[in-house]
């Protein structure tokens, strides 16, 4: 399987795991990110992931290759959902097979941490109170509000 990919349809960890199976690997660590019903005290109803896929694929593949090299694991891969997701749905899957479990855990952790920080993916949460917001982008939200406000009172676009 591809070391990193995006999917606009439901993720199936059992299928991906088969691709990582190796008779020389005794250990398999995986991580899944599920859509939570809350974030920072707000009730979340659903969310959207948007990705800059062309760059995301390259950066994601670099991360997985770094993990394989750094921890000497057998195989590793990551799949990230894009589009609309409901509560409880699987947003991201990471799997690593290795001869030793310590390295499998470390590589898996490395991949999810780096993916969250480096791959151009954005998450918009829709809240119970009708509000919505781009996660990690508090000032983006502020800016958007100010912009909308300005807009109500006159054109701001050139």
């Amino acid at each position: 399987m591809q070391k990193f990919s995006f999917s606009s349809a439901t993720l199936y960890p059992d299928r991906y795991r088969e691709a990582l199976a190796d008779p020389a690997s005794g250990g398999y660590a995986s991580f899944e990110g599920w859509v939570r019903d809350n974030n920072e005290g707000k009730r979340v109803l659903r969310l959207e992931y948007e990705a800059f896929e062309e760059l995301g694929l390259k950066e994601g593949e670099r991360i997985v290759e770094e993990a394989i090299r750094r921890y000497g694991v057998q195989k590793a891969a990551c799949v990230h959902r894009v589009g609309d997701l409901a509560i409880g749905e699987l947003a991201v899957w990471v799997g690593v097979s290795s001869g030793h479990r310590g390295e499998a855990f470390a590589a898996c952790r490395y991949i999810i941490d780096e993916v969250k920080h480096r791959v151009p993916i954005w998450k918009k949460e829709h809240y119970l109170d009708g509000d919505s917001g781009w996660v990690n982008c508090e000032r983006c939200a502020e800016a958007a509000h100010e912009h909308a406000h300005d807009h109500d009172h006159g054109p701001v676009r050139a």
């Binding site: 990110g33 992931y49 948007e50 990705a51 800059f52 062309e54 760059l55 390259k58 950066e59 990230h80 947003a91 991201v92 999810i112 993916v115 969250k116 920080h117 480096r118 791959v119 151009p120 993916i121 954005w122 998450k123 918009k124 781009w134 996660v135 990690n136 982008c137 000032r139 983006c140 939200a141 502020e142 800016a143 958007a144 100010e146 912009h147 300005d150 807009h151 701001v156 676009r157 050139a158």
Partner: protein, 80 residues
């Protein structure tokens, strides 16, 4: 003047009100281009909160722009 393509994602897409545009610009670098586009679209996010990619690779804000470049300004990411 250079002909460049700009794509917008997430918060920037919503602020710009457009997801992609072709434009003629006198901007010599992504930094200059972003300042130009902020004025045009009213985007209030400062460049310091963004990263920038040209032709599907992360680049420095000071990298010279050439005609045909595909530019993407990248707001704070939130995968996983």
């Amino acid at each position: 003047m250079r002909q460049v393509q700009v794509r917008y994602f997430a918060a920037l897409r919503e602020q710009a009100g457009v997801s992609e545009e072709q434009l003629e610009t006198g901007a010599a670098t992504p930094a200059e281009l972003y300042e130009e586009l902020r004025l045009r679209h009213g985007m209030q996010l400062p460049a310091t909160m963004l990263r920038v990619a040209v032709n599907e690779e992360f680049v420095e804000w000071s990298r010279p722009l050439a005609s045909g470049d595909r530019v993407v300004f990248i707001p704070p990411v939130a995968g996983g």
